[in-house]
């Protein structure tokens, strides 16, 4: 019995120290991860201030510092590309959100004939590699006069028109709003439209913000299709296409640090916006994954 009373606190101490050790290990792990994850971005930032030459080099810390790269950006078409991308992102995020909400609300709340079939067909459509349809979309846009220098409206049209396929996450969200709310309002004589406007939309702030955010962010990174549609015309490029050109074999020696400076300017606003609305993004992706 006396043995037991002596043993107990010792064991307790052991638990505590082992927890402390494992926590320390986790802190070290997390610190290492954070460093590894941030290194490339810190490198981009440092390289954008490097002025001794413009080539890729094997060291990180610049030998001479300066903002020449940023000043040079304004002598290129970069401001134009930036504006293009911003317009595309702004307009398509508004319109895409509208389309996605229409689609997902209808599929979540109405039980009409062919609804299951529709959803299954869209699942199957999603399995086709979209890459191949670009050539046709390019041709259609060319017939509408929306390519090359006029690529901006063309890109908006295609992003918005095909966004109905992205209904999944917000449908999952609408499914979680109890139907009894709708029914109560319907009994009181509200039309379906009024139910959507007065009851569902005010409750849907997280999913609206999630949809706007993802729609706003994706044009900044779209590279393949934007390249196709702008077809080499500088006035129609977005930042991704324009800056990709700077890393071509024959341009990289002159434009590598320029790319870094441009990258910093693109990353800052998107990242700030994202961090502000992080909460909604997390809710969206988690919901989407659980619903599968």
């Amino acid at each position: 019995m006396s043995e037991n009373t002596v043993m107990a606190p010792k064991k307790h101490m052991g638990l505590k120290t082992s927890r402390r050790i494992s926590n320390t290990a986790i802190y070290v792990l997390l610190a290492v991860i954070s460093v590894v994850w941030l290194i490339p971005f810190i490198c981009i930032l440092l390289q954008s201030f490097r002025v001794e030459n413009t080539m890729p080099v094997g060291y990180v810390i610049p030998k001479r510092w300066g903002i020449d790269n940023y000043l040079r950006l304004f002598q290129t078409d970069f401001p134009k590309w930036y504006l293009n991308t911003f317009i595309i992102a702004l307009v398509s995020s508004v319109l895409q959100t509208f389309i996605v909400l229409c689609m997902s609300y209808a599929l979540s709340r109405f039980r009409f004939k062919g609804r299951k079939l529709l959803m299954r067909l869209m699942l199957i459509l999603g399995m086709f590699p979209g890459m191949l349809t670009m050539i046709i979309l390019y041709r259609v846009l060319a017939d509408l006069g929306m390519t090359q220098a006029n690529a901006v409206p063309g890109l908006i049209l295609v992003y918005v028109a095909s966004s109905g396929m992205l209904y999944y996450v917000s449908k999952g969200f609408f499914d979680t709003i109890p139907k009894s709310l709708d029914e109560a309002a319907r009994v009181d004589g509200a039309t379906r439209f009024q139910v959507l406007k007065k009851i569902i939309l005010p409750l849907s702030k997280p999913i609206v913000i999630y949809t706007v955010l993802t729609a706003f962010m994706s044009p900044w990174g779209d590279f393949v299709f934007a390249q196709y549609v702008s077809m080499g015309a500088s006035a129609g490029k977005n930042v991704a296409v324009g800056m990709y050109g700077w890393l071509n074999k024959d341009q990289i020696a002159n434009n590598y640090t320029l790319f870094c400076a441009g990258g910093v300017l693109v990353a800052i606003p998107v990242t700030v916006l994202f961090l502000c609305l992080q909460k909604y993004y997390v809710e969206g992706v988690t919901g989407g994954a659980v619903k599968g």
Binding site: A106, I124, T133, F193, G221, Y256, F274
Partner: protein
């Protein structure tokens, strides 16, 4: 096959359980395939019966209906006018007029050209120009690309017309019946109101569905049709050369094995194998490591949870073309990584690490960099789900003396797999088509010089980047790219189908535990 009762099943060892499940799955394949075709057959039969019934109804309606109904079989919307439903009448009539106009002006021409895809190619002719005489110009006649595109559109339009015609006939018959029974018809105002009320879904779906139809479905159908032509697609879609139907020749070219390892089929097999390996590793490394990071951050007693998360989440926000292109340059032979290792004296000038030049190195490097890309995202997803696991499960496990690993493998992992099973599947197929990571990191390099297939295949090329390369450049080979696209679809569809069929077994397992 031996049948086991639930109790016997529970007594089995893990390996035996898995073996049993696999066996029963394999045994069920023939039965399931047969059931699938049977289902297809009955489906077709039912559809045929339904159409026949519909046709009979429509014919009977013509015989028994009054003159207003009879006229509207020919002039759509006439019955609606005659019965006072002006709004509906106007819409039906308008649609018919537009349809007939379109068919006469364009549709008929394109549809007529569809079997041949155009007969007369571009010709050069001399024309008078200015004062100095003649100049040679190229005159374009038939354009196969446009003929194919617009004939598909015309077929869409015809289907829409038939559907609308049927709606028109049916509405006439209903209207007639309603009037006979002494009730009143809906007015135009009520029709409009119903569009924001009980027919609201039609209003909601109209715009998105039109977009999907024109900008997703139409291109996909076109793409499938191109696989049966010899359209090469040089100059990015601006070709005025004629092309024509070639039947299954392209599939034959792609899948023919007669030349052995130098045939296209061999290249396809290699790329497919790497695509599957890549998708497997990309999905599961991210999944488990992301879950690990999430659990580390979630652990009791760890401070600055929000800070750690924010650091990782920041990397989700930065556009991939910046981070991936930059990282790809970091690992180049003159990049920072090699430079740093040289400064540290670990390697020297002659032994630079071949991140992008050696096939095996390149493959491993893309998988590792993909972990860097994917962990933050998975961390976000799993954090929420991990928090949903009831804490009392762990509590009781701890009281029973379960170690950390046991808690993980008996509680956390089964729960996570159960909840995120469908997500894993979509993520697997998504990784198979993960264009950005591969294209921006390596562009498919290092090149596979043994392959004779079009599109300069590389060792890190996935099917999707390969088919993109086939469509590029002067030697673009669009019809082969279409064949690859169709094959990609088949692979993805088969995997999805099989895994979805296996998923319920995961759920059953959950029932046992």
């Amino acid at each position: 096959m031996v049948k086991y009762t639930d109790l016997e099943y529970l007594r089995m060892k893990k390996g035996k359980r898995f073996g049993l499940k696999l066996l029963s799955f394999l045994c069920s394949i023939p039965r399931k395939t047969a059931a699938f075709f049977l289902m297809l057959l009955t489906g077709i039969k039912q559809a045929a019966l339904k159409i026949a019934g519909e046709a009979r109804d429509i014919c009977m309606g013509f015989v028994t209906g009054d003159w207003k109904t009879k006229v509207s079989y020919l002039v759509m919307g006439f019955g609606c006018f005659a019965r006072g439903q002006i709004l509906r009448g106007v819409l039906f009539l308008l649609f018919e007029v537009v349809f007939i106009g379109y068919m006469v002006l364009f549709g008929g021409y394109y549809l007529g050209m569809m079997p041949s895809l155009g007969k007369q190619g571009p010709t050069t002719e001399k024309v008078a120009s200015g004062l100095r005489g003649t100049a040679t110009v190229t005159i374009y006649h038939d354009n196969s690309f446009r003929i194919l595109l617009y004939s598909v559109l015309t077929i869409f339009f015809i289907i829409a017309f038939i559907y609308t015609w049927r709606v028109n006939v049916k509405q006439n018959l209903t209207a007639e019946r309603i009037l006979k029974s002494g009730k009143k018809l809906r007015s135009g105002k009520e029709d409009l109101r119903s569009l924001v009320d009980d027919q609201f879904h039609k209003t909601l779906l109209a715009l998105p569905m039109t977009g999907i139809l024109v900008f997703t479905v139409l291109p996909i159908i076109f793409m499938i049709l191109v696989a049966f032509t010899n359209y090469c697609g040089a100059n990015n879609g601006y070709t005025n050369n004629l092309f024509h139907w070639v039947g299954l020749d392209n599939f034959n070219t792609m899948l023919n094995w007669t030349n052995g390892s130098s045939s296209y089929a061999a290249t396809f097999g290699e790329v497919l194998a790497w695509t599957l390996i890549w998708a497997f590793f990309a999905t599961f490394t991210n999944y488990f490591l992301g879950m690990m990071v999430a659990m580390a951050i979630n652990k009791k007693g760890i401070h600055f949870k929000k800070g750690w998360r924010t650091v990782l989440v920041m990397t989700v926000a930065i556009p991939q073309f910046i981070s991936l292109l930059y990282v790809s340059k970091m690992f180049a032979s003159n990049g920072i990584v090699n430079g740093l290792l040289m400064d540290l004296g670990i390697i020297d000038m002659d032994h630079l690490l071949p991140f992008w030049t050696d096939p095996t190195w390149a493959r491993i490097t893309v998988i590792i960099i993909n972990i860097w890309i994917g962990i933050p995202y998975l961390m976000l997803i799993t954090t929420g789900i991990l928090m949903n696991i009831p804490a009392d499960l762990y509590e009781s496990a701890r009281i029973d003396g379960a170690s950390g690993w046991q808690q993980y493998s008996k509680i956390t992992l089964p729960y996570m797999l159960f909840v995120t099973g469908p997500y894993l599947l979509t993520s697997f197929t998504g990784n198979m088509n993960n264009f950005n990571v591969i294209y921006l990191l390596t562009g498919g390099a290092p090149t596979n010089n043994l392959s004779t297939a079009p599109g300069t295949v590389g060792y890190t090329d996935l099917l999707i980047t390969w088919l993109f390369k086939i469509t590029q450049g002067a030697e673009a080979n669009y019809y082969l790219a279409s064949v690859v696209g169709i094959l990609v679809f088949l692979v993805v569809a088969i995997i999805s189908l099989v895994v979805y069929n296996l998923l319920p077994s995961i759920k059953n397992e959950e029932d046992f535990q």
